[in-house]
Symmetry: C2
Subunit: 363 residues, 2 copies
Amino acid sequence: MKLALDDLVDFARGAAFLGTGGGGDPYIGRLMVENVMRAGGAIEIIAADQVPDDALVVPTAMMGAPTVIIEKLVRGDETGQALRRLERILGRKAYATMPIEAGGLNSMIPLVVGAQLGLPVVDADGMGRAFPEVQMVTFSVYGVSASPMTIVNEHGECVIVEARSSHSTEWLGRVVCTRMGGAAHVACYPMSGRELKDYGIRRTMSLSLEIGRAIRRAREHSEDPFEGLIRYLRSTDHYRHAQVIFDGKIGDMRRETTRGWAIGYATIEAFAPFTGTMEITFRNENLVARVAGKVKAIVPDLICICDRETAEPITTEALRYGQRVKVMGVSVPDIMRRPESLAVFGPRGFQIDEPFQPIETLF
Amino acid sequence: MKLALDDLVDFARGAAFLGTGGGGDPYIGRLMVENVMRAGGAIEIIAADQVPDDALVVPTAMMGAPTVIIEKLVRGDETGQALRRLERILGRKAYATMPIEAGGLNSMIPLVVGAQLGLPVVDADGMGRAFPEVQMVTFSVYGVSASPMTIVNEHGECVIVEARSSHSTEWLGRVVCTRMGGAAHVACYPMSGRELKDYGIRRTMSLSLEIGRAIRRAREHSEDPFEGLIRYLRSTDHYRHAQVIFDGKIGDMRRETTRGWAIGYATIEAFAPFTGTMEITFRNENLVARVAGKVKAIVPDLICICDRETAEPITTEALRYGQRVKVMGVSVPDIMRRPESLAVFGPRGFQIDEPFQPIETLF
């Protein structure tokens, strides 16, 4: 996969779509990557298969509440510091970095790190979407530990978490991240190339670029961008069940920055032919969409709120009263729907008292 | 200094006196040391002068709210783990451990660590009393950093804090400690023998033993234990200003376990010849004692609430309505009263809007 400066707008848009409300602001993510590219930083994206089985891969990301991340500026080298500190803890050099999740910011951060440290970035991640908690990745489902995790702030301070489980890494790391002001830079899930290949969700950076392009091209051809997007998604293997599940105007909203996340809900008043009110609850990411109490889409499937004219994805921290939006429901890769995965990031992982229902059974 | 099994009751009592309400429960501290001594652990206490200038000294302690520490049992090897992990971070072996503060628990913890790991324990600490925050030690006043600090819990999980200042080490470490359940085990302030000798408060372990003995011997001779204690303190260099500043019965109390500490106040209704009500505010340790709004003793001088018959020190978490107590005010070593020290742990360090007034000017 090649990524040119001109691709960044499409790439950020597509990543934000997969971010399903979370994963950070795509504008900030794009500015950060533009910055390193304009400064001459070379970005090398490699396929998972190019990573030797015994090589060390270290994902990098920002952790925190997206409501904070849009206000708290970064210095720029924090995430690279987190990776370097983790290397020293492990006594090994990283072969590559990669995103832990897909999102407007968190698909970009590893590109910044890669360009700054001269590391390739693997075209893969740990969920093919975004999730709010550290343990909510395929790697932890299959036994790769999030620990040791390094957490770095804008002062160059570092906290290293060595926990007994990925869940405990989240528990301890979240409060550090909150104490650092609500957002911080992390390196975690150090893993072998073999583990990456066995459990990673592949080609999600390419997918982000293609999603962003499909939306732009439909606009350029005066086509409904949702039609262009759905046509593209149906051509993919994993995200082929895709549909507009609601159309309307944002009404009530509540959003709190609390316990380290942006938590809340938005209601959407229907435009015909849809009827009633959709309520979407979120914790950084959109978790469940209901109309009159009935589930229309639920984690880990994607619930994407987009501008109803342009199909531009809207992250949860950018939702506002009065926005006219369409909501898309999209399936996720099969590995994300296995029972062991659903136990970690299915509805129960979020204390939602509903069974998982594949989006294609709800259309 | 020699410490036999038979000395532990005296030693714990004296350490609790210097703990000035905090520093942890002396009964728990004593049980832990008895345990390692009965299991054959040898305790070697050395003078600060015996430590080579270039040797590494690593203080060890428990951190948290004493209200939690009396309920949350320890496994026993956590503090030693914290020291060992810090050694690996530094790439150096510790020559000795030592207390960071004097207190019923925190004077004992290094003895446990020393016996378990075969390290001598230095007869010194960083304040000659107890304080609630990590940066409140002479070492940080004179530029020794609290970081890196290792924080270990009962699961053997470790969080390593590498902060830009001792104050920031406290800020980040406190929330980890709270997240670990309100109490955890730490190793911090790695320093050279030279730094220890320059900034440490010396012989505070010996002092604890002597204080405990003075109280016991007075009881054994049917003397007022406060008289015996005051006579001994007046014979010391640093703690020579010592007096009973109030006598009465505990009335109102408030105690919250919040933000990682036990915070609150106790009021004491006077017995003649004292009059009025003394109010003592505390954050783990007693901070300021007032009668009718007038300061009678204030940090960093010692405010020690003791049983009025036996002079047994009462920690803030053990204060109860109806207890009959005497309050002692005691001076601290001169290094603790210098302007640069008062800036860190004088009244302003606790957001108390009063100037420091030496206890001897208030008698």
